[in-house]
């Protein structure tokens, strides 16, 4: 017998099967955490958002009408909670701190390909920091769409369902966000003459 589908898990959880809900949590908590982390930009808040997402989803199991996939449903809750967290903050910081929690995971991801060249690592750190700054300068609309599509790897169709907008709008936002990111990086000195 294969693994139960998301819908089956939701049905079982709705019937009171906590284990089914636990399976659903294990299946999606990493993705939800990653999404929330890139939206709220801190690990602690991302953890809170992740837990709150599943708690709210559990409370709203009866409202799941099955018209969309459960993960779309979870994503929408996570995006809403992340946006609420962002908007409840003090005004946005101007600059990305050197210890921004987003920088190190990306450097660690690419460290194997860069080897141990300190200059290369420093340059990658600069680029990553500039990239974080560029993302932070984007509007909530563009940033959320960019995180969903480019970072989380969600398709335009799925992102459109989460954001409740046409696919074309998602594509336009992604294009616009990438354009603005490129502009920002060029202003920061990246993307100049070829090495």
């Amino acid at each position: 017998m294969g693994k139960p589908t998301d819908r089956e898990l939701v049905e079982q959880a709705r019937a009171g099967n906590a284990q089914a809900f636990g399976t659903l949590v294990q299946r999606y908590q990493r993705r939800i955490f990653r999404l929330a982390f890139h939206l709220v930009r801190t690990g602690a808040e991302a953890e809170d958002v992740t837990q709150e997402t599943f708690v709210r989803a559990y409370q709203a199991l009866d409202r799941f009408d099955g018209r969309s996939e459960p993960f779309t449903w979870l994503y929408r809750i996570a995006v809403n909670l992340s946006l609420n967290t962002i908007r409840a903050r003090k005004p946005k910081r101007d600059a990305v701190p050197a210890d921004d929690p987003r920088i190190e995971p990306l450097l660690a991801e690419h460290r194997s390909s860069h080897g141990s060249d300190p200059a290369r690592i420093a340059q990658e750190r600069q680029l990553t920091k500039a990239l974080c700054e560029g993302i932070d300068k984007l509007s909530d609309t563009l940033r959320t769409t960019l995180v969903l599509v480019c970072i989380d790897g969600m398709g335009h169709e799925e992102a459109a369902r989460v954001l409740d907008c046409p696919e074309g709008t998602v594509a336009w936002r992604v294009h616009e966000a990438r354009r603005k990111l490129r502009e920002h990086l060029e202003k920061q000195g990246f993307g100049g003459d070829a090495a």
Binding site: L106, L131, R182, F190
Partner: protein
């Protein structure tokens, strides 16, 4: 080593994509994930029942305001499916901007039928046909400023009035009313004729020598009686019709006068081109308006033949609140825009005859920015934007500075901005038995800096949710330090 030495410009896009696509979250052990999952399930089971409103808000689509420039794409691909929101631009604004913007309009998809609006002459014709008993015309311009008598309430402020979705009623249909049909039912007259009339008709026998067929005197007599009866009935009808027509003329004249007065009041100090055009056309309208009463309706000249239409009136604030109707009839100021307009059988071109000859207003280039347009009319600079269609923020201090920014956000932009975030706020108060009110304070950059919530939401712990929802509103930059507006949130 400078960053330029390390990154190829041509590869920057793919480099960014690579970085974004492989950007992980902080590493967490599998055991920690297991532990977290268990704690999440425990927390979910232990959590008290959630508030319906809060859940609804979370399950609703994220309230993300559309980006500037997104409207053009939406209009091009989806049509006028929803009202314009904050940051979006109407087609009329595109028209006004196109003169200084290098970016060509992407499309003008509105059909001519949907965008065509009746001219003053057409309205006058309808008013004269309908008379006082028919104060409004469904599917046409609201009559508050056109055909309502002065004794009635003044026209309401700018309201969300959709453009006519159904075609306006045909002129010929207006003649179906009993009083105005002009049809004389001979059978009814014969039946209602008195004996005296019949006798008089027989006595007179008018034209029997000429009209009678070979010796058919009975027929001639009956015909003579009928002719007299008909004549009398027509006299009565004429009197009746004359009264209705008089009322119609009065209503039409009052309506036109009201319209012209609004135009003159709004723009007479400026004496700009639009006012001049309206003023030139005014006598013509005054002469033309009674025509439909005297002529047959079907013979009425084409609506746009006078060259004066409502499109020439300064309806910019109303334009800003209309749903996305890109060819909303705004003055066609740019030949490119005019060329891009879908073929409308010439009606489109005739609908916008009062286009200002001067440069397109770009000051405060924003939907519903009447202040900017007026500033342009009195000689404001026609500074070019950068072609991206994006507004220059007030705080930016670059380019035009405050010269290109209105003193305060227009009513349309405020309504659009609040309308964009209102669904989220409504979701917070879903199920409420009373309204909630919020005071939104916008900073000069157009963003919400403060929201104060009163009413049901405040007394039921939903003020945070409402605030979070309303804080996403953006009215675009303006020059005042702040701008406060109230909003009522109904469940």
């Amino acid at each position: 080593m400078s960053p330029q030495d390390k990154t190829d410009k041509t590869d920057l896009g793919s480099k960014v994509d690579t970085l974004l696509g492989s950007w992980p979250a902080p590493h967490v052990d599998d055991a920690a994930w297991e532990e977290r999952a268990a704690s999440i399930v425990a927390a979910a089971q232990a959590a008290p029942p959630a508030d319906d409103a809060a859940l609804s808000a979370l399950l609703a689509p994220p309230s993300l305001p559309p980006e500037a420039g997104e409207a053009e794409r939406l209009v091009a691909s989806e049509g006028p499916a929803r009202p314009l929101l904050s940051g979006e631009r109407t087609m009329s604004q595109q028209d006004s901007n196109s003169g200084s913007s290098a970016k060509p309009p992407e499309s003008m998809p509105m059909s001519a039928a949907a965008s065509k609006r009746p001219s003053l002459k057409e309205l006058a014709a309808r008013a004269s046909q309908a008379g006082a008993s028919r104060p409004s015309i469904p599917g046409s311009i609201p009559p508050a400023s056109i055909s309502k008598p002065p004794s009635e309430a003044p026209p309401p402020p700018v309201s969300r009035t959709p453009l006519p979705s159904a075609p306006p009623p045909r002129l010929s249909e207006t003649g179906k009313g009993k009083e105005d049909s002009g049809v004389v039912d001979l059978n009814v007259i014969n039946k209602t004729a008195t004996a005296e009339q019949i006798a008089a008709a027989e006595k007179a026998k008018p034209a029997t020598h000429d009209l009678a067929f070979e010796g058919d005197e009975k027929v001639a007599a009956a015909s003579a009686g009928n002719v007299k009866s008909i004549a009398e009935a027509r006299e009565k009808k004429a009197e009746k019709k004359g009264g209705g027509a008089t009322w119609g003329i009065l209503v039409a004249v009052v309506g036109i006068a009201a319209g012209v007065a609004i135009v003159m009041r709004g723009q007479s100090p400026k004496q700009n081109t639009t006012t001049a055009n309206v003023g030139q056309e005014k006598p013509q309208v005054a002469v033309e308006a009674p025509k439909p009463v005297e002529q047959k309706i079907a013979e009425a000249p084409p609506p746009a033949s006078t060259g004066l239409s409502l499109d020439a009136l300064p309806t910019e604030p109303a334009e800003a609140q209309k749903p996305a109707q890109p060819t909303g009839g705004g003055p066609a100021t740019d030949s490119k825009v005019a060329a891009a307009t879908p073929p409308a059988g010439g009606a489109e071109a005739q609908q916008a005859p009062a286009a200002p000859a001067g440069p397109a207003p770009t000051i405060g280039a924003k939907p519903g920015d009447l202040a900017g347009a007026m500033a342009q009319a009195v000689g404001g600079s026609t500074e070019k934007n950068d072609g991206t269609g994006e507004m220059v923020p007030a705080a930016g201090g670059n380019k035009g500075g405050n010269q290109t920014i209105p003193e305060q956000p227009s009513q349309g932009s405020v309504a659009s901005a609040i309308g964009a975030v209102m669904p989220g706020a409504k979701a917070c108060v879903a199920g409420a038995d009373d309204v909630s009110r919020a005071q939104l304070t916008f900073s000069s950059s157009g963003t919400v800096t403060n929201v104060s919530v009163t009413g049901w939401a405040a007394s039921n712990g939903q003020s945070g949710c409402v605030k979070a929802a309303l804080k996403g509103a953006n009215v675009g930059p303006f020059s005042k330090p702040s701008f406060t507006v109230g909003a009522t949130i109904r469940p």
